[in-house]
Amino acid sequence: MKKLLLTALLVLPLAFFAQAQKTNKAISSPAAARDQILEGKKVYSKFCASCHQLDGGGVPNLNPPLSKTTYVLGDKSRLIKIILNGSNESLEIDGETYSNPMPQLDILKDQEIADVLTYIRNSFGNKATAVTSPEVKAQRSKKK
């Protein structure tokens, strides 16, 4: 009985994990999303972390946080446009405003933007769908 219980304890979480993986698969394309998150983290360290910080917390009064904000979790096209066009207007999050401009980072490739946004949307307490390279491409062509 004891053995059975122990086995159950060990196996059950694994089963749940497998189930969770399956659910993920159903939403977006799976291993690809994981790769995107890994690649996105590299882009984040190079282009984003100095202002938005490694923990996505931003800098009070200067650079907005990226955790659980509608800018990050909401409309993907708005988010993609912030990267492609930059932003230099006061945006308010939880009653606080942030004064530094967001540079235009259209030097990044479609895939790099998709990766970094997928990383951001799945880090710092965020959980949201992946951003794909065609979605970035669509916004970039609209811009032109």
């Binding site: 910080q53 490694l54 006061s90 235009q104």
Partner: protein, 427 residues
């Protein structure tokens, strides 16, 4: 470690005993907090929290009665200047009121007049014989229509002894790039920002409705200043510049992350009329001890800048964000502090992925109106942790400095709105 702690403990208890409050009597000096308000101080010093949770507390002044005016970055309940009084004389403020429905940073008191700034105007309030403001809703508007970008928009103020007021107008840019803060973007030729910002302007302290046409650009090439003070020993203006950001982020081929965390220096400048400190064309490298050409203007990290730009009087490590400067003229602290400079560092954000640094008050000794070249951390522990990776980890961040009538040093914090008083109780 234990022995100094014990000694400090015994000392504090004795001190508390000596100052045991008795009814109605002015207690002076006050008892310090048992943990010195969480601050680490040199031996013989103690601290207490005199006010808390008042808002984003920026610069402050102390009246000769020991009451405080504090400027808030953002008004709380439509009050942008908080007036704090100590009714029972225990050193802790127990009556709070306020006025001035505008956010800002600058506050200065001289000869019975309180001067305060919003982010684009400067006002003055006449004080009565108790140093209280009677015309709270009708200040005189001294200066108006100052340039206010989204970055570096605060206006710090100080007066000289000849009826002039000096106002910092920060550059609304990091390094005057064609595309601000964008990797690889070159600097604008003849940086156009400098005509109305990126410097210190001088106006008359008693004239109404002045703007650019009425003042003079006293000194230029200064990216942004929050802490400034008038040195009474040599009758000269000193300012602390916030140096440029993101050498690595914008120019990764020239600067690695470690270099970028330490460069450029945060500079203390002694300013004379007409001085040019060189922003955005140069920055000061505290290791090479030279003004170095900025990468936006053809620099490579080694090429020296033009000789027309002044050198700093003193250079500190990069990105510490100096928000308060005060020349100490009191008698309470030991002799070495007299006429020296206290600098409140708000703490860095631009050192990622390295640990953030600052979040302390530094002391730099002066001799005959010039810094000796040394400096030391005077008050530390505001952040509540030694390991600030992201500025949000810091519980308190020092901002404004003021000297009390008894020579105590006051420090504001603009995170929680705490006001600290540091005093010397050693022998």
């Amino acid at each position: 470690m234990i022995i100094p702690l014990l000694t400090a403990g015994i000392f504090c208890s004795l001190y508390a005993f000596k100052n045991n409050p008795s009814a109605g009597r002015q207690i002076h000096p006050p008892t310090t907090d048992p943990d010195n308000a969480g601050l680490k101080l040199p031996s013989g010093f103690g601290a207490l929290v005199v006010a808390d949770s008042i808002g984003k507390a920026r610069h402050l002044v102390v009246t000769k009665e020991g009451n405080l005016y504090v400027k808030l970055a953002k008004p709380v309940k439509e009050k942008g200047i908080i007036y704090l009084k100590d009714k029972n004389g225990d050193g802790r403020m127990d009556e709070q009121s306020g006025f001035g429905n505008y956010g800002g940073t600058g506050l200065y008191l001289k000869d019975g007049v309180l001067y305060a700034s919003s982010n684009d105007e400067v006002f003055s309030y006449q004080l009565d014989e108790k140093n209280e403001v009677s015309n709270q809703n009708n200040p005189s508007k001294l200066i108006t229509k100052l340039k206010k970008g989204r970055q570096h928009d605060t206006k710090s103020i100080v007066l000289d002894n000849s009826g002039n007021i000096y106002v910092n107008i920060g550059a609304y840019s990091n390094s005057c790039q064609e595309k601000d803060r964008t990797p690889g973007s070159p600097g604008m030729k003849g940086c156009p920002i400098l005509d109305s910002a990126g410097g210190i302007w001088q106006f008359k302290a008693n004239k109404l409705n002045q703007s650019y046409g009425d003042g003079i650009r006293y000194a230029t090439g200064i990216r942004n200043v929050v802490g400034l003070d008038w040195n009474q020993q040599n009758n000269t203006l000193f300012v602390m510049q916030h140096g440029r950001d993101q050498l690595n982020g914008l120019w990764p081929d020239l600067y690695d992350e470690k270099k970028s965390a330490l460069l450029p220096a945060e500079c203390l400048y002694m300013l004379k009329k007409g001085d040019n400190a060189g922003w955005p064309y140069i920055y000061y490298d505290q290791y090479q001890k030279k003004n170095i050409q900025a990468p936006e203007y053809g620099g490579d990290g080694k090429k020296e800048g033009s000789k027309e730009y002044i050198n700093p009087a003193l250079a500190f490590p990069g990105h510490l964000a100096p928000n308060g400067l005060l020349f100490y003229t009191g008698n309470q602290f030991p002799e070495k502090y007299r006429n020296g400079a206290f600098i409140a560092f708000h703490g860095s954000w631009n050192r990622t992925p390295e640990k953030q640094e600052g979040f302390y008050v530094v002391f730099a000794p002066f001799k005959d109106g010039q810094p000796t070249g040394e400096w030391e951390i005077f008050a530390d522990g505001f952040a509540g942790t030694d390991n600030v990776m992201s500025p949000r980890d810091a519980k308190h961040r020092p901002c404004g400095l003021a000297q009390g009538p008894d020579g105590s040093l006051y420090v504001t914090d603009d995170v929680k709105g705490t006001v600290y008083r540091i005093l010397y109780n050693g022998k």
